[in-house]
């Protein structure tokens, strides 16, 4: 672990301020260890960035936090409740306080944009139709897609679908928002817009945000706390500036995008030349 990672970004946080706490979590998928003693905390009202190379389990972490999967060992607490001890209805009650933006949007394909955003409202409240309409149009306006309310998900571009999904994620005013790779495939205008929106929702509404991404530059502009995950545990933690200033070779390699360094770019394989020659001989 790097010098930066030797202490937690959240070490000074009072216990009541911790919204999500992951303690010594171990998780194995398909025989491959994803997490081996992962420890991290997300504090209320802050934007926490979870970074790491592809395949380090960033999305798996979100699945653990939303209790889609359970760790083999360790503890995950959300809003102070240990997820392992919760029944289905309690998990659902907890999820109503969360919002999640999926990488692909995950819009319901048999409904138009308006109905997609209205879906959680209709399912969880008995609000009159004019109020539902007001609420949905407000959220669609916030993501710049009020004019697309009648379009079907199949008619949207990837970036637009992600923005509709964001409107759906915030329509119930969650206390915590989880973003799974929110910047992938966005044009510069949408990217800047989403960045400002995340920041705005955090500052104006006090929504705690967890952003899982490997877009270091984008995250650095909005994150209050950052965790760099590598080889199943936190390799470094701190503010983005602290991570950038880290003297750890692994952290520097990730933050600057270097191909050479302790974090291997290539999946483990036999010697390149030997394998090519073997192919020739055959």
């Amino acid at each position: 672990m790097s010098s930066t990672g030797s202490r937690h970004a959240t070490s000074a946080a009072p216990a009541g301020d911790v919204v999500v706490a992951v303690r010594d979590v171990h998780y194995v998928a398909g025989g491959r260890p994803i997490f081996a003693g992962l420890d991290l905390e997300v504090r209320r009202g802050r934007i926490t960035a979870i970074m790491g190379p592809s395949g380090t389990g960033k999305t798996t972490l979100l699945r653990l936090v939303t209790r889609q999967i359970a760790p083999a060992r360790g503890q995950v607490t959300v809003f102070g409740e240990d997820l392992s001890g919760l029944g289905r209805s309690e998990v659902y009650a907890l999820r109503r306080r969360m919002g999640m933006l999926f990488q692909n949007g995950a819009l319901l394909t048999d409904m138009d944009v308006f109905e997609n955003v209205a879906f959680p409202v209709r399912e969880h409240t008995d609000l009159p139709e004019p109020l539902v309409r007001l609420l949905v149009l407000t959220k669609l306006q916030a993501v710049g897609l009020r004019g697309a309310a009648q379009l079907m998900p199949g008619e949207l571009s990837g970036g637009m679908a992600r923005r509709v999904a964001l409107a759906r994620a915030i329509v119930m005013d969650p206390e915590i928002l989880l973003y799974d790779e929110p910047f992938v495939g966005l044009d510069p205008i949408s990217l800047g817009f989403i960045l400002r929106l995340i920041k705005h929702m955090n500052q104006a509404l006090g929504i705690t945000s967890v952003v899982v991404s490997h877009d270091v530059q984008e995250l650095a502009t909005i994150a209050d706390d950052s965790y760099l995950i590598s080889e199943g545990r936190v390799a470094a933690a701190g503010t983005p500036a602290e991570l950038k200033a880290s003297d750890s070779a692994a952290v520097r390699q990730f933050m600057t995008g270097g191909a050479d360094g302790p974090v291997p770019f290539h999946y483990p394989a036999p010697d390149y030349a030997t394998q090519l020659l073997e192919a020739d001989e055959r």
Partner: protein, 254 residues
């Protein structure tokens, strides 16, 4: 190449049976709240039932016409052409209508159900519902299961009626069987027991086919290949289960 051991095969089958049984119990629990959402239910009865009408009506007509031809040819050998109405009505009500409707249902509505739910799984729509604290079993699976269950007896009834008219078309219009004899003999020979047999069979087939279709879609691997495999399994399992249940129920009713 690994050889499939018989015990593995048996264990796999038992595991699958257990999984379907647990899924059925979960579905039945969720059917109660699903019944309180008539809008969702009506939409699924429309999808499974109304959208299958054309194929059911066409098949019913042709099966009835074939029954008229074959029945007339057979009965004429014994000089009993007048019994064509009875033969067609009983054959359709008790056997052909429920079985063929179920097989067609598995091929049309069953595959549509499996691929729709499987694709919802593959595109994270079901996961998104779970994160929004909406149970996909209640919102997606239960209405589709109930829709299939309700649609099957209705489609079977339509198949029987159209099939009988098909048999009458051939027997009366083409072969010259007396119209009055055809209908009066049919009316006299068919009793409530025969109608009940067809109804019970269609309900049993509706339950089996809808359950298999929804289960396969819900548990499909979230890949293109996984959804394709699940769709194939729906047709195969539904067809085999329909024919197996048909034998059991026929034995019970006789």
């Amino acid at each position: 190449m690994t050889r499939l051991r018989p015990d593995t095969y048996v264990l796999g089958g038992l595991r699958r049976l257990g999984s379907v049984s647990i899924f059925l119990v979960q579905l039945l629990i969720q059917c109660v709240p699903a019944l309180a959402r008539p809008g969702l239910l009506v939409a699924q009865v429309y999808n499974a039932g109304a959208r299958s009408l054309i194929i059911i009506m066409l098949s019913g007509l042709f099966v009835g016409m074939v029954l008229g031809l074959q029945g007339y040819d057979l009965l004429r050998r014994f000089g009993s052409e007048e019994a064509l109405g009875i033969a067609a009505a009983l054959g359709l009500l008790r056997e052909l209508a429920p079985v063929i409707t179920a097989l067609l249902f598995a091929g049309r509505a069953g595959t549509a159900l499996t691929s729709e739910i499987g694709l919802m799984r593959a595109t994270d729509q079901l996961t998104a519902m779970e994160i929004m604290a909406v149970d996909p079993l209640r919102y997606v699976a239960a209405p589709r299961f109930l829709g299939g269950l309700i649609a099957m007896p209705l489609l079977t009834a339509i198949f029987s009626v159209i099939g009988l008219y098909g048999a009458q078309l051939v027997g009366v219009q083409m072969m010259g069987v007396d119209r009055g004899v055809f209908w009066s003999q049919t009316q006299g020979a068919v009793d409530l027991h025969d109608v009940n047999e067809g109804l019970v069979k269609s309900l049993a087939f509706g339950l089996a086919c809808s359950l298999i279709a929804v289960h396969e879609g819900y548990h499909a691997e979230p890949t293109a290949e996984g959804v394709a495999l699940a769709t194939t399994r729906t047709v195969v399992a539904s067809s085999v289960m329909t024919l197996l249940l048909d034998y059991v129920l026929t034995a019970v009713f006789l």
